[in-house]
Symmetry: C2
Subunit: 373 residues, 2 copies
């Protein structure tokens, strides 16, 4: 059985319909993957995720390594057992976290040294070690260690980061082939290269030549204008092996997802839906709203009249505003359920549209409604 299979391509765009088969389950693509950084998608229960049709979540090696520690997760019987999640888990290597969260870090050819945000202790990640640790956790899809650059990095920095990432890519594949620990853990390569088209092309081709199960585009959605993100995705996709699943890391706003699918991207993840929930925001078909708004005080309609999520079927904006104002945990729970469902539903509708060859229409219609709020 192939790990990835494309069974339909849209007529009017690069969008495609496919499926990923892990040892856990089958995941239809395009797919939105909610982020459970510390082995919990914030404020929701696994059962609620499953009810919403979620069959793959993210977890983060960097955070889990610091707490509770990989040894403990191994002892628990792996990450699935530890967190009681029966479906697939994609683990990020933590490259992004090391580079963005760590105040003091030292990049070396062999890996990266960083200080724990918890206790200041010093740690060292190598391409080999992050694979070993992800395997120990029983990850279904592992990410290689990469070096991310900031949006404003100099050409030299971006160039060095991209080259080091390619070097680490080869070491990662070597480590994977050496290991007989867990044949079920698939490894994805990461294309870096900042916003330099030549470098992106170079990295895309180099990563495609290696024996990865999937290809991720890293270093995007880091503060740049959306049009630039889309331009870079579109450009990069031309040079990757499109027979593999393509994943844009850290992208998860509704329009961003549509644009990426349009470019032929199959997988997305983002903390956005759960993070904005804790700030009182909610996606609706006519744009994002914030529940704090005074006009919702006596608005007894659901967040989105068309939405079939648990929250919208049962609760009004007025009640959720009351909960939010009073700092009740239930507001985070209800908004997280809605915002996650909204994205699952959006991506499900994208799959339907691709199947019916009308993705472009669906996308344009959605954006028109979403932006004319």
């Amino acid at each position: 059985m192939n790990f990835f299979e494309i069974f339909k391509k849209d007529n009017g765009s690069k969008a495609r319909l496919g499926k990923i088969i892990t040892s856990r389950n089958t995941i239809f693509t395009p797919v939105f993957m909610p982020v459970g950084t510390k082995a919990t998608v914030k404020a929701v229960l696994n059962e609620q995720l499953e009810e919403m049709g979620c069959n793959i979540v993210l977890a983060n090696l960097y955070h889990l390594y610091l707490s509770p520690g990989i040894g403990l997760i191994k002892k628990a019987g792996g990450l699935h057992k530890f967190s009681n999640w029966p479906n697939s888990i994609l683990t990020d290597s933590g490259g992004f976290q090391v580079f963005s969260l760590s105040g003091i870090r030292k990049i070396m050819e062999k890996g990266v040294e960083f200080k724990s945000v918890i206790d200041g202790s010093v740690h060292f990640f190598t391409p080999e070690k992050v694979i070993q640790m992800q395997m120990l956790m029983g990850s279904d899809i592992m990410m290689m260690l990469d070096e991310c650059s900031t949006f404003d990095a100099s050409d030299e920095v971006i160039n060095n980061a991209a080259k080091r990432t390619l070097k680490w890519a080869k070491l990662s594949i070597k480590e994977l082939n050496k290991s007989d620990m867990n044949a079920d853990s698939k490894l994805f390569g990461i294309v870096q290269g900042g916003f330099n088209k030549g470098l992106r092309k170079y990295c895309a081709e180099a990563i495609s030549e290696l024996d990865f199960s999937g290809i991720a585009l890293g270093g995007l959605s880091v503060g740049e204008e959306r049009s630039l993100t889309v331009e870079m995705i579109n450009h990069t996709v031309n040079y990757v092996d499109t027979s593999k699943p393509l994943y844009v890391m850290g992208l998860g706003d509704p329009i961003g997802i549509l644009e990426a699918i349009d470019c032929g991207i199959d997988m997305f993840d983002c903390v956005l839906p759960t993070r904005i929930s804790r700030n009182g925001s909610a996606f609706t078909r006519s744009g994002k709203i914030n529940i704090k708004n005074a006009r919702f005080s006596d608005d007894f309609s659901p967040i989105d009249e068309m939405c079939m999520c648990y929250t919208c079927r049962n609760y009004s904006k007025s009640y959720i505003k009351h909960l939010y104002k009073n700092k009740e945990i239930l507001s985070s729970i209800l908004l997280s359920i809605h915002n996650l469902y909204f994205l699952f539903d959006l991506v499900r509708n994208c799959r339907l549209a691709i199947a019916k060859n009308n993705f472009a229409d669906f996308k344009n219609e959605f954006i028109k409604n979403y932006e004319n709020k």
Copy 2:
């Protein structure tokens, strides 16, 4: 149909088995009622409460009056509709909150003046007004306005508070009879009298003479030793009309519940199970534990091996400790589900024991296990 019916009395104690019938549903007693102060039982969904067999929750007039306001709840179609809770709701009048939370308050014969904790604005509650407002919300069981005294109050203060409470009791009944707004809202009287036995007897008899649907014991569980609480309950119960449901307000630790049932009490409420959850504590058959304890780091067993709650069926102490340590909302959710279930289960087992005439044995056995931790 009677509002309350006793259909079995225990042979060896004053414990009794009964049912309360509201316009919403039937509630078997003894019953534990979780507290949803601001129209949400903290960190749990209504569906989860229903799954646990919960059919009555508390809400608090004082808090809801301040936010979102009674007018808004009325506009929403009542408290049940606003909070999407189909079963019964008991609303506390807020007497306790006015007296304990309000920094500046002025007690007058007609009622009590207090400042909002939210914006410092001045408000006035009268016995009549709290009934009107509870009716407007569509409360199933309303509490009269009472005056609570602190544990260390002087005899004079306690005496005046008790007498004022009795005066307000009569005004409450008068207001109830006057109203044709909501015949489905039943009103409970409250017995005050501090820790003065003579005064408790006097209040118990006076409240019993009035046409209340149930009788509550207030001003207990306010910091005194448990033996004194039990002594006061036991004493007071001798002088109340025991054909009515008897309710001890603010009591909700496992042993306290057993002792109160032993005295013939039918109803309890307490913030304890949800509050301790947010502090990482959990009830178990062998006593209370705190998940922060180092020994739980690699303890992959559930909180309580015998517990059939969702949390214990699915999650380990090790995982919950990890969540708690990382301030994940899910730790409050999982612990709240467990602690609430634990009390529902305890009270369910009490009902079974009363039915089988072995409540005393059940109680002694439970306490033995619970205290020999």
